[in-house]
């Protein structure tokens, strides 16, 4: 399956959060890698969007959109460092 990167999450995350999260730095609970969400590996399918750690492949977050609701799960993510605005 082809993948994209976390730049692609800007639209979905800015709909849900009060800021553009792609420059926020997230820690991977799997390997400890810290990087901007824009640098994650992103896989998309009809079922939803999955962002994986570029270093170890662990699932960092998932976004599932249904008709009228969105489920966001920061399942593999530790601290998220949000830049000053």
């Amino acid at each position: 399956m082809q993948h994209f990167d976390g730049n692609l999450l800007a639209g979905a995350l800015s709909d849900l959060l009060a800021f553009d999260a792609t420059t926020a730095r997230a820690r991977c609970n799997g390997c400890g890698n810290v990087g901007e969400i824009a640098t994650t590996m992103v896989f998309r399918s009809a079922a939803g969007t999955v962002a994986r750690c570029p270093a170890c492949g662990q699932v960092l977050l998932t976004i599932v959109q249904t008709g009228d609701r969105t489920f966001v799960n920061f399942t593999g993510t530790g601290a998220i460092e949000i830049p000053a605005r």
């Binding site: 990167d5 730049n7 692609l8 800007a10 553009d20 792609t22 824009a38 605005r85």
Partner: protein
């Protein structure tokens, strides 16, 4: 002072866009000029999402890089045809001036460039494009040309043939103009007559020869198909570039 010139990220929202112009950019791509009501301006390198809604309510959303930047309500896209795609063939073949689209943006705060405020020289900028990945890099280059700042700029552009070059006239004018800007091309299928470099895929040697080296500590922006971006980024790190100075945007594809 507008939001963009204040260097604050413009607020994102869904907007109604009216098509001002659609014209052929290359044999397989179109340039689309939109007038977007309420658009807050955008930074060079940002993208937007386009949402199409069919009469039966089915929707399809795709991300496109923005080829323009700055204030004002006009937004320029350059869309490459994805064979069997759901959205790009419609945008290229069917869209007409006066049509309306829904767009979400401006999006993305990572793959952007800020011109030095005083027209001076910022950190050198190396742009590396694969195919239609040139679109956000063109926006960055044009912002530099418009700002007429002293930042050293280079573009390395991998493209199938001379006919497939996006923004060919603008890039040629930029390379001949007074603002520092050098463009090099890697032709993967057919080169112009008299070209020195061999035709073929980009190589590590070509990247090393036609880009700012790590000693000049450039900011490097790489955009293209996923495989292209990951290969080039790996070479750049091998060549000694700081991984934190390499910004990448992958659009999938082949």
């Amino acid at each position: 002072m507008s939001e963009v010139t204040a260097r604050v990220l413009p607020r994102t929202a869904w907007h109604a866009a009216e098509v001002v112009e659609v014209r052929r950019e290359t044999p397989t791509a179109a340039r689309i000029v939109l007038d977007v009501a309420g658009w807050p301006g955008n930074l060079p390198g940002q993208h937007l999402d386009v949402r199409l809604t069919a009469p039966d309510g089915y929707t399809a959303t795709r991300s496109y890089s923005i080829a323009s930047s700055g204030d004002g309500s006009q937004v320029v896209l350059a869309v490459a045809r994805v064979p069997d795609g759901e959205v790009s063939p419609f945008l290229i073949d069917e869209l007409r001036a006066g049509d309306r689209l829904e767009v979400h943006g401006p999006l993305g705060a990572y793959f952007v460039w800020h011109a030095p405020v005083d027209g001076g020289s910022g950190r050198p900028v190396q742009l590396i494009a694969g195919g239609s990945g040139v679109v956000p890099l063109f926006a960055i280059a044009q912002a530099h040309i418009d700002a007429a700042d002293a930042t050293p700029f280079r573009l390395l552009y991998s493209v199938r043939t001379p006919d497939d070059v996006f923004f060919a006239e603008e890039l040629e004018a930029a390379a001949k103009g007074p603002v520092p800007f050098v463009a090099d091309y890697v032709y993967t299928r057919r080169a112009p007559a008299g070209a020195d470099e061999p035709v073929g895929r980009i190589t590590r040697e070509r990247v090393a020869a036609a880009t700012f080296g790590p000693e000049s500590e450039p900011l490097v922006y790489v955009c293209g198909a996923t495989g292209f971006v990951e290969q080039v980024a790996t070479w750049l790190v091998d060549l000694g570039h700081d991984p934190r100075a390499i910004r990448t945007e992958r659009y999938g594809g082949t």
